[in-house]
Amino acid sequence: MKKSILVSLLLAAAFVFAARAQAQVLVIANPGVKASDVSKDDLREVFTGNATTLKDGSRVVPILLKAGTTHEEFLQAYIGKSDTAYRAGWRSLVFSGQASMPKSLETDAAVVDFVAHNNGAIGYIGKASPHEGVKVLAVK
């Protein structure tokens, strides 16, 4: 009995933490991107350099935050890697001639500005950040 209560509590805690992590980040895209939602798998493929299109055929280019809580939460919720592991993955692509490093910007405002003005750009910002001029993609 005790064991099953403990397992239930742990599962509930894991669910709450996962939901919290996802809730703190908004995924945004240039208004020219057709899609209004994106799957977690597609998001991971795009942000790890394994894909350049979403399921609906929209061609996208990932934009990163350089560091910070929102960046860490995004990686934890959608990529499943620490920052060091994530950047190591990109370095293997860059130094083997397979890709260019995605643009990394300092602030949420800079990400919003860049995404708003560049076709196909897709990025992430904190939930509370202003985001005029971009569309918010629901993550399914």
């Binding site: 920052d83 592991a85 370095r91 860059v94 083997s96 260019s100």
Partner: protein
């Protein structure tokens, strides 16, 4: 072909800037990394270093420049400085290529391109990208590495979704000319026996690699096969002072294949690979045929765990056996390894690794072990790296 391909790449490098409206349009990036290693062995000198005294003679530095004027086209070039004991100490062209990606299903790359054979060949020289100080030496031998990395030619690549929850397949196919330089680590044994390949050894090769990312999340299985038609090159032999024989090294056409699997979930990574290498090599001099027997099976299994955001730890067992050699320590090499990596920040990291090596089919040259090679060796590797 080599000159033609490099000419086309250089043309692209000059035409693209001319067409761009601004430097910002070119999305020019410069990246690099540098590493410094330290090797210490309890006995036997390895990798052409004086490792039994402790050797820092393992340095690398890489810098690349890429331009990506639009999301489909990318042009770049990468140079490398490499020093390992008596090997290298020179700057070489790592890759220089133009890449056009039509969509996720089809892309093409040509110029000097990396060969994506095996599980790690494409990234085996990119130290910042993995946790190990040394990749499993049975398959990714450090002294033989540089000539195995790239070729002059082309590559097609893409990802195909299989549908109906069957996962997806990443494919790569390549063809071109591979060049094994005369001063490459491949030929340490030959050089110490008084033989040289003044023009190196080169020839055409084609290959393909498939990675099946299975519906069972985190699991990838794959295979690679490379076909090398017959290669031949001039070989010289100085058996005594003032005597120089000229002959040839001939390699019969052969296939080199490997199969591998990787499982990654959360903080855990498991991987394994099995490789077969059996080229028919003949060293021919008038009235002096010299056998060069190679019939190798090479494999490893590895596991790593992300202990914290900054600390990773892992183990692997790497083994190889050369069936063409007589029984004894020179016929095999077995290497048990424990390893750790610490990332101080996004740019700076350190690695520490302990190897327990049994057998002498890898790592060792005769000149630096004049009293003979002992059958077992303990190797400690420390490494620090910085990348930007």
């Amino acid at each position: 072909m080599k000159q033609f391909l490099m000419g086309v790449v250089m043309l692209a490098l000059t035409v693209i800037p001319a067409r761009a409206q601004s430097m910002e349009d070119l999305n020019i990036q410069i990246h690099g990394y540098a590493t410094q290693g330290f090797l210490y062995t309890n006995q036997n000198n390895l990798f052409t270093t004086n490792s039994s005294d402790g050797s820092p003679a393992w340095s690398e530095a890489v810098v690349n420049v890429t331009a990506q004027p639009d999301s489909k086209l990318r042009v770049g070039v990468q140079a490398r400085y490499f020093l390992l004991g008596n090997i290298g100490n020179a700057i070489t062209l790592d890759w220089a290529n133009a890449d056009y990606k039509f969509n996720d299903k089809l892309g093409v790359r040509f110029g000097k391109v990396k060969m994506p054979s095996n599980l790690f060949n494409e990234v085996q020289d990119i130290d910042p990208s993995y946790m190990w100080a040394l990749l499993p030496q049975s398959v990714y031998t450090l002294t033989n590495r540089n000539s195995a990395l790239s070729q002059y030619g082309g590559l097609v690549y893409g990802t195909l979704k299989l549908g109906n929850n069957l996962g997806k397949v990443e494919y790569r196919g390549w063809g071109g000319e591979q060049v094994l330089g005369g001063d490459d680590g491949y030929w340490i044994g030959l050089r110490e026996a008084g033989m040289n390949l003044p023009n190196g050894l080169s020839g055409s090769n084609i290959g393909a690699t498939l990675h099946w990312k299975m519906p069972f999340k985190g699991l990838m299985i794959g295979g690679t096969d490379t076909r090398k038609p017959a290669w031949s090159s001039q070989l010289t032999f100085a058996p005594a002072p003032g005597v120089l024989l000229t002959g040839s090294m001939d390699v019969k056409s052969f296939n080199q294949w490997a199969t591998f699997a990787v499982y990654e979930k959360n903080k855990i990574m498991l991987a394994g690979e099995y490789n077969k290498l059996a080229p028919g090599i003949t060293l021919s001099f008038p009235h002096l045929p010299i056998p060069f027997p190679v019939d190798k099976r090479q494999w490893y299994g590895m596991a790593s765990y992300k202990v914290t955001q900054k600390l990773s730890a892992g183990i692997y067992d790497s083994q190889q056996i050369n069936h063409a050699l007589p029984l004894g320590p020179a016929r095999f090499s077995k290497d048990w390894v424990i390893s750790g990596r610490y990332d101080f920040n996004q740019f700076l990291y350190a690695k520490a690794e302990q190897h327990f090596i049994d057998g002498t089919d890898n790592y060792f040259d005769e000149n630096l072990n004049p009293n003979g090679i002992q059958p077992t060796t303990k190797l400690t590797v420390l490494k620090i790296g910085v990348s930007f």
